[in-house]
Amino acid sequence: MSNLTVSNSTLALGFSLVLVALVIGYVEKLRIDKDIIIGVIRAIVQLSIVGYVLKFVIKANDNWLTLACFVIIVLNASWNAAKRGNGIPKAFQSSLLAIFVGTTITLTTLVLTGSIKFVPAQIVPVTGMIASNIMVAIGLCYRNMKQTYTDRHQQVLEKLALGADIKLASLDILRDSIKSGMQPTIDSIKTLGLVSLPGMMSGLIFAGVDPVKAIKYQIMVTFMLLASTSIGSIISCYLGYKQFFNDRKQLRDE
């Protein structure tokens, strides 16, 4: 741990990097200075609170408290994913189910295979990693779905008019949307180690862990993210596409 030299004073000096972003925004008249300042303040406040909460949870080492953290993370991720599905009915419920199932299956597998232990120091951060990745995947699925139902509106109508069920009429959209949710994870896997040294691995190396051991953890994280984004994308898309139709199997915006 002696490698970690970030202190309050080094953080304050590091704040100069934010000024770089502010200066660029000002010079280029991007009008994002307010967003940057709010973003930075939020990041500092949120992370500080989370740091103290995590310290308490890890120290308490209580199963119920660990599960409570799991629930809070899943609910928050679902709420954020649902915002990206604005206009899709029951987006929160679909996101909640997708994130809950995706996170639970992945976490359970990791615990049962002995990859991680059921202790707050491992469960809480891993839950956060899984849920946030599913959240991003669902957001992409929803965005793709909304866009393609608009773009292929006529085609869906024609398929329905030929007597197709809503699933057959939406099959192309469904496949494209699931793929759009999974694609960033697949793309990032391809460049692992070549372009990026991801957070988990970097964190362990920073903390002085042998890089070969850190890589093993990163490979585990890769498997975990691939599984969880697949599960999350499939569940959210299969629940989401139905919301574009009414009970008479008609497109809702017709």
Partner: protein
């Protein structure tokens, strides 16, 4: 002749705008009914309601004496098929399109049947594997109509399907539809084409959402 459709006190509105006002109509099985009226008068909306693509705000549509709301929508649309003015072809090839009705009915693709139907609309078997980007507008409409007719429905609703087609393509479409009508297919045709209107034996007019003459 048995009544295939009975429409009673049908209204359709979007927000405060009334699109269709108190439509009452009976249509006999086997008819070739032409629906005319100015653009925006509600003809297509009425046809879409009959095809169960949208639902009436109030009123009833009976199909063989039964409220269409009681039918399973996909089964109903296989009986009452709707053809669009500017159809899109799905997938990559003509095959993808003509295989679709088989897929809907979970049946194996019957190439010999498809070739027979293609010939009916003056397209030979080489068209099956043609790219959808390589067919002309007229051919596209003929292929799209075949999607509706490969499994003969009881009713075919055509919404200005000959609009924008040249004389030759129009003649092919008319011939095909007449043949199917003679085989018992009920056809409801929305059109603005003066020749089609002049040649129509059964006609109704919708103006400002109101049925003018029955």
């Amino acid at each position: 002749m048995e009544k295939i459709f009975e429409v009673r006190n049908l209204f359709y509105q979007v927000g405060e705008t009334k699109i269709l006002k108190d439509i009452n109509l009976e249509i006999e099985q086997g008819k070739y009914l032409t629906v005319v009226g100015p653009s925006g008068s509600g003809k297509s909306t009425f046809m879409r309601i009959l095809a169960s693509m949208i639902s009436a705000t109030t009123g009833e549509v009976l199909f063989h004496g039964k409220d269409i709301a009681t039918f399973e929508p996909t089964k109903y649309r296989q009986k009452v098929s709707y053809a669009f003015q500017q159809p899109t072809l799905f997938g990559k090839t003509v095959r993808d399109n003509l295989a679709f009705p088989f897929e809907v009915r979970k049946q194996e693709f019957d190439e010999s049947k498809v070739i027979k139907y293609l010939e009916m609309v003056n397209l030979n078997q080489t068209y099956i594997d043609k790219s959808v980007n390589d067919v002309s507008g007229g051919e596209k409409q003929r292929i799209a109509l075949l999607r509706n007719l490969l499994f003969q429905p009881e009713v075919l609703i055509t919404d200005e399907v000959t609009a924008g087609l040249d004389t030759e393509n129009k003649a092919i479409v008319h011939k095909m539809l007449n043949e199917f009508n003679q085989r018992g297919l009920t056809i409801l045709r929305v059109t603005h084409d003066e020749t089609e209107i002049a040649n129509a034996t059964d006609k109704i007019t919708i103006k400002d959402g109101v049925l003018q003459n029955v």
